[in-house]
């Protein structure tokens, strides 16, 4: 029996099932599935697309970075959370996700204390934000503790 992934009208063979045990080396495949973003409402544009257009213009990108730095503490309080750290670096969730090699949704869940990033992702986030890994680790643990006690 074959296992196929189907997307956009294309399909890929991603695995085979056999009743016989195999001694052949194999792969461990992980994937993240989500509901995806609904289509924008009629005559509307997704905010993310609008932000991407602004980020493509140097002066607007600079204004967005400055606004994030200014709003980091007012918006996310004095908590030593990842969201505050990210905004102080002038980055959006989407930008951090791209630099760290994950999805915006994953970053959102980590910031909310709902996902536990492994050490490799913590290291990638730290590199993307140009901070020490221990700072990211502490920020993540702090928000997780807050979420658990809520």
């Amino acid at each position: 029996m074959s296992l196929q992934a189907i997307s956009g009208g294309e399909s890929w063979l991603i695995g085979l099932h056999s009743s016989q045990p195999s001694t052949q080396p194999g792969f461990v495949i992980s994937a993240q599935f989500g509901a995806g973003r609904p289509l924008p409402m009629p005559n509307s544009k997704a905010l993310d697309d609008l932000v991407a257009e602004a980020e493509a213009m140097p002066s607007r990108a600079a204004a967005l970075r400055a606004a994030r730095k200014t709003l980091a503490e007012p918006l996310h309080g004095t908590q030593a959370g990842l969201a505050c750290m990210r905004m102080k670096a002038g980055k959006s969730q989407a930008q951090l996700a791209e630099l760290a090699g994950t999805s915006q949704a994953h970053i959102a869940r980590i910031e909310a204390g709902k996902n536990d990033p492994g050490t490799s992702l913590i290291a990638r986030i730290a590199r993307a934000l140009d901070v020490a890994e221990v700072e990211v680790f502490t920020a993540v643990r702090s928000i997780q503790a807050e979420a658990e006690s809520a």
Binding site: K45, L50, S59, R60, A66, L71, A112
Partner: protein, 127 residues
């Protein structure tokens, strides 16, 4: 939860980028952060002065709208964007928030008969 921007509001925001970049950036970043945090979003459908950290957002439902519409506005207090009203509707079924207008407070005072008031309600009704 996702934030959409109606074409008319996009034009409002574009005008703001051209006249007051700091205000436009503040509005954009605030909307983006709200989209990424369900706790922040929840407060956008609660009438009153709502605190997001130490940032204060003044949230009001447009109660004069007839027929009653799930249309709200917020102002981001104590920032370069304080003078602007961000008007939005929230679609409960799809959990989408649609920004309908970004207007200077001197240009929009919730008059149902104003050009902007009529535009907002017509746009929301068409969604």
């Amino acid at each position: 939860m996702h934030v959409d921007v109606h074409a008319h509001a996009e034009a409002d925001l574009e005008r703001l980028w051209n006249t007051d970049e700091a205000a436009a950036a503040t509005v954009t970043v605030t909307l983006q952060e709200i989209q990424g945090d369900p706790n922040l979003l929840d407060k956008l459908t609660q009438h009153g002065d709502n605190e997001f950290g130490t940032l204060r957002l003044n949230v009001k439902r447009w109660t004069a709208a007839k027929p009653p519409a799930n249309v709200w506005r917020f102002r981001i207090l104590d920032t370069p964007a304080t003078s602007y009203r961000i008007v939005y509707g929230y679609h409960w079924q799809t959990r989408q928030l649609c920004v309908l207008a970004v207007a200077h407070k001197d240009d929009f005072d919730y008059e149902l008969t104003s050009d902007l008031g009529r535009r907002i309600l017509a746009d929301w009704a068409s969604l």
